[in-house]
Symmetry: C2
Subunit: 217 residues, 2 copies
């Protein structure tokens, strides 16, 4: 198909496709004349993936390119993909951050971390540091509880990774990481309010159903 | 105590204390002469809370002031505090967001949400919308799984809310919301890598213990 039809199929403007081609986020089509190229279904799939990574995925162009490079030379194990994906979505660790507390927790729980991903452990170290800076002591046992809960959840999530294509696996892993995070945080806050209404009295709460004036918005 | 001693006790510069006084984030001391005021332990505690809210808590000055106003006129039930705290830390809902899917989930799970907090439900609606925009279908049953996990976690967290002082409760609730979120997300990514190494083969992984060259940093 020509670029105009590709644009229709993938629902992406021609100008955006040209930009992705220049930025090497999309592989070139097959030249049929010096000024014309043919595209196929692989371009449609790639365009949808790139849009999702840059848009809701919130990845930078550089991180997206890095991830796509990993796709182009598929790692032997799907496991590599997760390490590369996490590395791409984590901000790099700031200098001088003490990583030892994070390493110690990984050791204590026996968690095996991908060698390509240092930044998830840095994110853990940073979160622990922020709690410490604020003088906020987690209740006894809270950290182990969080770890246990996240481990159970992660096992269910990883069981669901599709293995039929590398493209589908990357999509699941990256979007599942980035898009599900705000979902989890929103659910935690709402679940806390529900728990709070049960502990501290429910007089001031409304039922979960939609107040009519809001639902109509 | 005079302002200079308050600065030492709370480990906050005098200029910052004067700024907080002007911004009404700190209550005035007792005037002992036209140019001098006396401060007490309540000022030390309040300063520590304000620092934590503005710093690691990441709240704006306006949100901090709103929360402190709630403290100054303590709500009858501690439960109100959580609704107000969540309202303060959530970004406001964008216009035109469809809140009905969030209300429906609250109804389906029977969760009771604080009437002062609309924005947590909006955050849930926004997260669902982003998944939908990306064409990312959660695996069957995943949403209910996430809800169940967050509910168990929230119940443990709310059991831990200290009830000895309103100040301690606010601190626990706000910092526990804001500072624990990055911790949970980091743990989820690490737990996924651990689960992935178990499912997809562990050859490419390193054990959780600190590689010497990183631990030495």
């Amino acid at each position: 198909m020509r670029i105009s039809q590709l644009a229709r199929e993938a629902d992406v403007p021609v100008a955006t496709i040209k930009f992705y081609l220049r930025e090497k986020l999309l592989h070139d089509g097959e030249l049929t004349s010096p000024t014309q190229a043919q595209y196929d279904e692989t371009h449609v799939q790639r365009l949808k993936l790139v849009r999702a990574l840059l848009g809701p995925g919130g990845l930078s162009i550089a991180a997206t390119r890095e991830l796509l490079a990993a796709l182009a030379a598929p790692p032997e194990a799907l496991h590599d993909l997760l390490g590369i994906a996490h590395q791409a979505v984590n901000p790099p660790a700031p200098d001088g951050l003490d990583l030892v507390p994070a390493y110690q927790l990984m050791g204590r729980w026996g968690w095996r971390i991908h060698e390509k991903d240092r930044d998830s452990q840095a994110a853990l170290a940073r979160a622990l540091q922020a709690l410490d800076d604020a003088g906020f002591d987690l209740p006894e046992g809270a950290l182990d509880l969080y770890a246990r809960v996240m481990k159970d959840m992660a096992e269910a999530e990883v069981r669901g990774v599709p293995t039929d294509s590398v493209e589908a696996a990357v999509r699941y892993v990256v979007l599942g990481t980035v898009l599900v995070e705000p979902l989890l945080l929103a659910l935690r806050r709402l679940a806390q309010q529900d728990a709070s209404s049960r502990r501290f009295g429910a007089d001031a709460t409304s039922a979960g159903a939609a107040p009519p004036e809001r639902a109509a918005k």
